[in-house]
């Protein structure tokens, strides 16, 4: 009887998995909080230059990307409900939409950055050097912070793809949805960071 129960007992602690994910999210929040402090202090020191430089960013593209990320967050959140309702097909559709939104976000980002590059605006470019300290700092922070955020999007795309494959081959189902939950938490973090990046870089001028 002892051996039987030992075989049947598969140790799994979903609460602990979730807590671990949250601890990782805390470290991410502190990382970005540090960057926000750097941004605020430099903005305070170079108010005029930051204000003029921020006006060069397209509010329309920023708004579209914000809405895209919000939709993708909602769809992955809905997927965590769909998998519990044993609706595999709808889970896959929702995860597919999330992935598509992530890719569209990156495509927008690509064109946005390329536009800046064409105008000679990239870290340590000659044009930026001739523009003075404030602009150099603004664009340095802009490329670093949105770049770091974009890197998180790429990681998210990989993560959600793994979840999608595992839902499809039934190794992730209503009995074992914790990987989907944690990927969802990660994706919401990416959304959360963008919610603050958007007003700081695009809106406040």
């Amino acid at each position: 009887m002892n051996t039987e129960s030992a075989i049947q007992h598969i140790h799994r602690d979903d609460e602990a998995s979730k807590l671990g994910m949250w601890l990782f999210i805390f470290t991410e929040l502190l990382l970005f909080a540090g960057l926000f402090i750097v941004y605020s202090v430099y903005r305070y020191q170079n108010a005029v230059a930051f204000s003029l430089a921020a006006e060069q960013l397209s509010v329309t593209v920023g708004t579209i990307n914000t809405v895209i990320l919000l939709i993708s967050s909602a769809t992955i959140a809905m997927a965590t409900s769909a998998i519990r309702l044993k609706n595999k097909k709808f889970t896959i559709i929702l995860l597919g939409i999330t992935l598509a939104m992530a890719v569209i976000f990156m495509v927008n980002k690509y064109f946005e950055w390329m536009g800046k590059f064409e105008h000679g605006l990239f870290p340590s470019s000659d044009i930026l050097k001739s523009m003075g300290n404030g602009d150099t700092l603004f664009y340095g922070l802009y490329f670093f912070m949105t770049g770091l955020h974009a890197l998180h999007i790429l990681v998210g795309i990989v993560l959600i793809t793994i979840v999608l494959v595992r839902v499809n081959n039934n190794s992730l189902n209503d009995d074992n949805p914790v990987l989907l939950d944690n990927s969802g938490l990660y994706w919401h973090l990416v959304d959360l960071i963008w919610i603050f990046l958007f007003p700081l870089f695009y809106l406040i001028t």
């Binding site: 609460e15 502190l30 708004t63 519990r84 914790v178 809106l203």
Partner: protein
């Protein structure tokens, strides 16, 4: 053992309503910053971002339905971040 099947299943409609709210808040923050309030529009943009992030944390990240320990943890970490920012600015201003 804690069983995930006991955990609360949030209806799709809740998520869609929150999404609609978030999009409205985004458009509102764009509209507000178009009007020149100076310092006030900075404050308004940050305030709206905070409201939006609370909605994401509470509903999308499921905190409303999670256990108390997690809720306390998350609240504590945001207080910590706020304190770090506050103390840095005190240091910066009175240096």
């Amino acid at each position: 053992m804690e069983d995930h099947s006991k955990s609360h299943i949030v209806p799709y409609k809740t998520y869609l309503l929150i999404l609609a709210g978030l999009i409205v808040l985004t458009l509102l923050s764009v509209a507000i910053t178009h009007i020149e309030f100076g310092e006030l529009s900075v404050f308004a943009a940050i305030l709206l971002a905070s409201v939006k992030s609370s909605l994401v944390l509470v509903y999308f990240m499921h905190l409303k339905f999670d256990n108390k320990v997690l809720q306390i943890f998350v609240t504590a970490i945001f207080i910590l971040v706020a304190l770090v920012i506050f103390i840095t600015f005190l240091d910066y201003n009175y240096r």
